[in-house]
Symmetry: none
Subunit: 222 residues, 4 copies
DNA sequence: AATGAATGAGTTTTCATTCAT
DNA sequence: CATGAATGAAAACTCATTCAT
């Protein structure tokens, strides 16, 4: 009862996925500490010793869950990006993929975004690495945009490293915040494409202005 | 050993603050579950029973910590906002206050942003309420900006409610993301004012464009 | 709030009685372990240290409660017995007094009958002593009844010590059982005099038969 | 050390009985509060977590102990009653069974008679239910006795309900009082059959007189 | 491939009791 | 006469983890 399958003699690879499914779900909903190995074993429809046989410890199980979900998310984003399009179009398509994936895998997203950050460093590293990968991707796109703009004849200011980092971070943070909204399950949230468009609206113009050296500053009001 | 003060016979109100200090610190650094009441009592420089006498349970202690830090953050933002300035200036000053406070109280910020959201709905609610308050404030500022723009003679498109919500949410998310950076303690992060300026740069132009009906859309590339 | 009086500067003797009142009530209703010194102090309307100042420890407080209630019960029975009446009348009047007192002091009765027996011997001794006193009194009355009967010309068998003990114990047990009923507070229970009469009915005839050697035996059916 | 068996890998059903054995013993001798789960686990020869795994909580363990002992006592009495014998013989045989069982299971008896009644309503209820069952049985026997007497041609007064209840209660109380004696372990107490006979002697004649309308009354002395 | 039986180590929580004023 | 502040010691309960089959 409550178990995923109940069938006996399942090959290892399949069982492991069942366990990871159970882990992702349990960890996302209850948090690392509150999800007990008993819960997870029951959710996976197997006995506890089997979980240990395959995944060794709660720690490793959690790490495996994070890794799987992080890889899935990155893969989804990669697949969504329209490689040869202009930078803004690339960013938009990537964001759409991101929002679509998180909306379809809310437990996975919660695991990555909420739960994984709380634990003693060893877990966080996995997520930090993934986030860094994404931030790097965004950073590159900003760079590409600058180059495009230059190629188009517009004079483009060169942004400092810190500035770019800040922008990328802000963009990713904004995306995460919107993802929590779309993944929330509550009705009324926007679709993936709407969220992506909102974010582009929000971000792209500012970016353009910045590149033109027309940024906002406290002295220039209005 | 390791106690905060060592002074004996302290009035209740003072002791309670010491306990909350210890709680915020311990919870922020170790998480709710990993911070034991023993740790917290020792950090506060008192015995465990006294913690229970004054704060009743780990749950209530955690809640009290969250509430205190949430109130402090909101108060700091309120105090920083330049009430009668134009909307963008208000937003900027509020953001500056936000970044300054989180940078000065990194444990409090971690407690609110990371830990409180991880430990089940009941705790998260406290933070969600606070966040809603802030989002509401931002939403109002966006509305004010629209009105100012209209008063200034510029034609301003009316934004839909969902749009505004999305923008405010994105902005708050971006701010939170940057706050994690500034509060990180790692050197190299920007100052509060820099972070606020970066965010304004990032966000304000997009907002302006939007109000003029020049938002980005997937069809209009470049 | 909840305190008995709240008035300050009360002479010691009075305060002690207030504490004993609180103790009897709390112990009777919650049991020795479940009644906390905090509860009792609050019920008595004083601070905990004062309870310790006057009664030294929970143990001693409990003992003092038992002693007071035991003495009150024995005194009530003594006062009720019609000294110069025939044995059966004496027994009846004593029982009436017993039932009347327990009905009027249900907490005291519960304390003696239920709570005091459960604790590690040191408490039980007090109650055992009281009970022994009562059993002894009943035993004497049975003896007196035998002598009266002999004086009246009837042949009276001499009862063995064990027999008398058993009878007295049975009678006391029956009385206690009925006392739980009358002291129960539930309506429908009998009055003290009715209970005493029921018990006399139950016991006296058998006693008489026994003395005449006409006791019931398994072999004589019907 | 001190463990009951020392054998490892015992099936659950057996272990549970061992735990109940330990619980009955510990609770009877130390009381609910003073018997710690550590003690009980050690007595049962297992670790504490196993006790919790099988019996969930101290509360449930206590309840399970009470229920088992109550059922055992009732079963023993039922088995001892000579179904088709006359009422007095039935009563006697039931009492014999009662005394025999309590003497053989003094801890069980103490648990039921002393400990269970001390620990708040919820536990007491279990025992009250059992006692009610027994009182009911006795009440029926008294009724049967009246009918037998009538059938035998003797004029038999009809007893009021309250009267019968009172008598049954008194008899049960007397039996309990004697059971404390026989189960006491102190030498010198009577055997089960002696105790039963003493009680029959004590009670049966009075009952007979009552049925003939010759009850004792305060006005009729001697 | 799979599990029922079992536990070491640690956590939250409670309470009788005492100082210092 | 009276109390607010403080604690040592112990108890209930949980959980990741392992063994024997």
């Amino acid at each position: 009862m409550g178990g995923a399958t109940g069938s006996k003699r399942v090959p290892r690879a399949v069982r492991e996925q069942q366990m990871l499914d159970a882990g992702v779900r349990a960890f996302a909903r209850s948090g690392y500490q509150n999800a007990s190995m008993d819960d997870i074993a029951e959710l996976a429809g197997v006995s506890k010793p089997l979980v240990y046989l395959y995944l060794n410890s709660k720690d490793e199980l959690f790490t495996a869950c994070i890794r799987r979900e992080a890889a899935a998310l990155v893969t989804a984003i990669r697949a969504a990006v329209e490689r040869d399009a202009p930078a803004d179009r690339q960013l938009w398509s990537g964001l759409s993929g991101f929002f679509a994936h998180t909306a379809e895998h809310p437990d996975g997203w919660t695991l990555l975004h909420v739960q994984a950050r709380t634990q003693g460093r060893s877990f966080a590293r996995e997520v930090v690495a993934m986030r860094a990968e994404i931030v790097e991707f965004v950073t590159q796109l900003i760079g590409a945009a600058a180059r495009e703009r230059a190629r188009g004849g517009a004079r483009a200011r060169t942004l400092a490293g810190t500035e770019v980092s800040g922008l990328a971070l802000a963009l990713v943070g904004a995306a995460e915040s919107l993802a929590d909204w779309t993944a929330d399950g509550r009705a009324g949230g926007p679709s993936a494409k709407e969220a992506a468009a909102t974010l582009m609206n929000f971000a792209w113009a500012g970016l353009g202005n910045l590149l033109q050296g027309q940024g906002w500053s406290p002295e220039r009001v209005g």
